[in-house]
């Protein structure tokens, strides 16, 4: 039973797709099906809206999320009412989403649900922590690496990344793109003392001094950096950017005299929206990047089928990916067939 043992060592797990149609839902259904057999108590939620019966963008078939007797799931009101499973409501939270309040329920049989979840990282953390009231062993978050989602899946202990032909139909290109995201997920965490100070900061740009002191630079956005050059590095070369980081930021940092000494700290890997080119040009100059919350990447799942119907060779893709990433890579569809 590949990687399920690793999953069971975590209290929380996110399953994220590199892009739409990379087989994330299949991967989630596989994990849920396997965990059911272990008798562990699982809670399930999502960030953003997912589990739609048809993919709204490409109108391709998307498997729904299948849940089993006893599993706890969290979904917004509108999606809860569309469930196709018998379930009892345990709690209705006061957290509002575009789809209504969040409903926590327990499945009383096997069936399918549409998942949606907390609108931001703070509420996602609260939700994961609150699941212990329902005696769960593991909370699984159906996540997305998406700019549209304000909640970050990186707050979970472990992560499974789904990638596939939907990202690129060219194997080396697909491997390269996946490698970039895997590198970001594996970015090192800042030291605990600084991390604790940065965890609750959600906006702004800060200088970190030699002793780990945090100084608000009062710069509203990374677009204003150009005009504030002399202030930015007045406390040293460590910089914390709480929001999104773009190509502009990395190009700007690369061009500074002290580029080799700069250490950029971001909330988590999902806040890096730069292209590999901009990112690596900074790294090549000797720059370093660290994160405040780091998650453990447990496995990479591949989906060789693209939404346009193009099919890559599962074996070739798997081999190339494993060679490059040096970590377990699985084709979930094939795992299913083996069983």
């Amino acid at each position: 039973m590949p990687f399920i043992e690793d999953v069971l060592t975590c209290k929380s797990l996110s399953i994220v797709g590199l892009e739409k149609n990379t087989g994330k839902t299949e991967c989630l259904n596989y994990v849920l099906g396997r965990i059911k057999e272990t008798g562990k108590h699982v809670a399930l939620t999502s960030i953003g809206i997912d589990g739609e019966r048809r993919d709204l963008v490409t109108n391709t078939h998307k498997p729904e999320i299948r849940i089993y007797n006893g599993m706890i799931f969290v979904s917004a009101e509108k999606h809860y009412l569309q469930r196709r499973v018998t379930s009892e409501i345990l709690e209705v939270s006061e957290v509002h989403t575009a789809m209504g309040r969040l409903v926590t329920a327990r499945a009383l049989g096997t069936g399918k649900v549409l998942l949606s979840g907390p609108p931001d990282t703070h509420n996602l953390k609260v939700l994961i922590a609150g699941m212990r009231h329902f005696n769960t062993d593991l909370t699984i978050v159906d996540g997305a690496v998406s700019r549209l989602s304000l909640a970050s899946p990186a707050v979970t202990e472990g992560m499974v990344l789904a990638t596939g032909a939907a990202v690129s139909a060219n194997i080396p290109e697909l491997v390269r793109k996946t490698r970039f995201v895997v590198d970001l997920i594996n970015l090192p965490e800042v030291e605990t003392a600084v991390r604790q100070k940065l965890e609750e900061i959600d906006a702004g740009i800060y200088a970190i001094d030699k002793d780990g002191g945090v100084h608000d630079l009062n710069i509203r956005s990374v677009f204003m950096l150009e005009n504030e050059k002399e202030r930015i590095f007045s406390k040293g070369s460590r910089l914390f950017v709480a929001g999104a980081t773009s190509d502009n930021l990395f190009s700007f940092l690369r061009m500074q005299k002290n580029a080799a000494d700069i250490e950029l700290i971001v909330k988590d890997f999902t806040r890096i929206f730069a292209t590999p080119e901009a990112y690596f040009s900074f790294i090549r100059k000797g720059g370093k990047v660290k994160v405040v919350s780091k998650t453990r990447l447990l496995a990479v799942c591949i989906n060789p089928l693209s939404p346009q119907g193009y099919r890559l060779s599962s074996d070739d893709l798997g081999a190339a990916m494993q060679q490059e990433l040096q970590m377990p890579v699985y084709d979930v569809k094939k795992l299913k067939q083996c069983n």
Partner: protein, 475 residues
């Protein structure tokens, strides 16, 4: 006017409301929509409840009960929308049925905790019949789904459906899927019938549920008010008074802020009879704070709070109307004089109707020339003296020929000449208490205070010289 509107108008009111330890957002919503109460008996009921709450909190046994109740109160959700749906005969969905059931469970718990004759004086309607409808197996667990107790056919159908769903796990099968969809349709139809039936059964109980919501919120509010009355040293006002009179009146927010800076706060005694009371006093003598405190206390009283004083008799009014300096008039595009006069005119218009009002005007006509300013103050004070209102007007103008009450803030303590008075400790040398005065002269301490504030010596000396000259000329 609702409390939420008053919050932005009455200085120090938001501070009090924000610091109330209200448990549920339902109670907070209801509190914020409380009307300004002008009926004495209606207000007395509220104040008596707070008094009961205060004595309960001072009794160890009852306090323990209230603390338990507070935990349940914090779990209350606002289900007023759902109750409206019941009243309109709509069919509730599972989430709404869950809400009604969990509310009824909490409400019943609180009702039992407080006993058959709750010392709060607020009786909570019994919702057992609601629970009998939504919890037929009497498990009294806060979860909900349409189970077999509501319709025995459900259990069998669901078992069948589940068997098929389990088979479907292992791969798609169009035939099986069709059977599953058919069964799911049957289950859905039964569930819909049950929801409709439950909603119909709840309809005659909607008023009880509404009553329980109101009573639960009222209990929450009164406990918060009582706890605050104790922590902030508030007192129950006597609302039967004809004359408003305070002993030890204070402004809680200002007091807290001064105490934080280790500074002294001096409460004051004041009587306000019908008609006009003119108050004079040096700058920094606390006249503006006094008016704000009067507005705050009157408002708190008429929203059913205890008031910040050691003793208080409060004559109820229809409305508190005021013109107090630090309001922003720049935005309206009017000069400060024009804005003030329009505001005073609105006050006059209401006073002319002989309505009982509390009118508070800070330094009337201060921004125009003293000759005309003095005349305006005399005219307004004279007019308001003969209305059914209690008007308090502060002024720096002396020698006003108006037949109304006049008070003066004592001001500077006399024997401070040799002590180093600075802008930081000046408060320690001011006596904020009020004394009856004939109003013939006004305290002239503007230059002294300017000197303490460290204003340019040359200017002060020049002004002092001119003042002396003018005095000699007059004589």
């Amino acid at each position: 006017m609702q409390l939420k509107t008053a919050l932005s108008e009455i200085s120090g009111l938001r501070y009090m409301v924000d610091r109330l330890g209200i448990q549920s957002s339902l109670a907070r919503h209801i509190l914020l929509s409380t009307p300004f109460i002008t009926g004495r008996s209606e207000l007395q009921v509220l104040l008596d409840q707070v008094a009961e709450g205060v004595s309960a909190l001072q009794n160890e046994e009852k306090k323990a009960v209230l603390q338990k109740a507070a935990i349940r109160l914090s779990q209350v959700k606002d289900i007023r929308g759902t109750v409206k749906n019941i009243q309109q005969g709509l069919t509730l969905n599972d989430i709404e049925l869950f809400e009604v059931k969990s509310f009824a469970l909490i409400s019943e718990d609180i009702r039992e905790l407080l006993g058959p004759e709750p010392f709060t004086g607020i009786s909570i309607p019994c919702l057992n019949s609601v629970l009998d409808i939504l919890d037929p197996e009497k498990a009294r667990i806060p979860t909900f789904y349409i189970n077999g107790r509501f319709d025995p056919a459900l259990d069998l159908l669901r078992r069948e459906l589940n068997k098929i769903e389990i088979r479907l796990q292992n791969g798609d099968d169009a035939g099986l899927q069709r059977t599953a969809d058919g069964l799911r349709g049957e289950v859905d139809a039964i569930e819909d019938r049950v929801r409709q039936r439950l909603s119909e059964q709840l309809m005659p109980l909607a008023d009880d549920i509404s009553g329980a919501i109101a009573a639960i919120a009222a209990t929450d509010i009164l406990m918060a008010k009582a706890a605050q009355a104790i922590s902030e040293n508030l007192v129950m006002p006597d609302t039967s008074a004809e004359v408003t009179a305070y002993k030890g009146l204070f402004h809680p927010q200002l007091k807290a802020s001064l105490e934080q800076q280790n500074k002294r706060y001096q409460p004051v005694d004041i009587r306000i009879e019908n008609g006009t009371t003119l108050i004079t006093g040096a700058n920094m003598a606390g006249k503006t704070v006094l008016l704000k405190t009067l507005a705050l206390s009157q408002t708190m009283c008429q929203y059913g709070f205890f008031v910040p004083a050691s003793a208080a008799g409060i004559a109820l009014v229809d409305q508190v109307m005021f013109s107090i300096t630090d309001e922003q008039s720049e935005l309206s595009g009017l000069s400060s004089y024009a804005a003030e006069m329009l505001k005073v005119n609105r006050i006059i218009r209401q006073a002319r109707k002989k309505r009982p009002l509390l009118i508070l005007i800070d330094e009337l006509a201060r921004t125009t020339n003293p000759a005309e300013g003095r005349a305006i103050v005399a005219a307004v004070a004279g007019f308001l003296n003969n209305c059914n209102a209690k008007a308090v007007i502060t002024t720096h103008y002396g020698g006003l020929q108006v037949g109304c009450r006049k008070l003066r803030v004592k001001g500077f303590v006399e024997d401070v000449e040799d002590k180093p008075v600075t802008v930081h400790n000046i408060g320690d040398y001011i006596d904020y208490s009020l004394i009856e005065d004939d109003g013939s002269t006004v305290p002239q301490e503007a230059l002294r205070i300017a000197r303490i504030l460290g204003v340019d010596e040359e200017i002060i000396d020049e002004a002092a010289g001119r003042l002396k000259q003018a005095g000699e000329t007059n004589q």
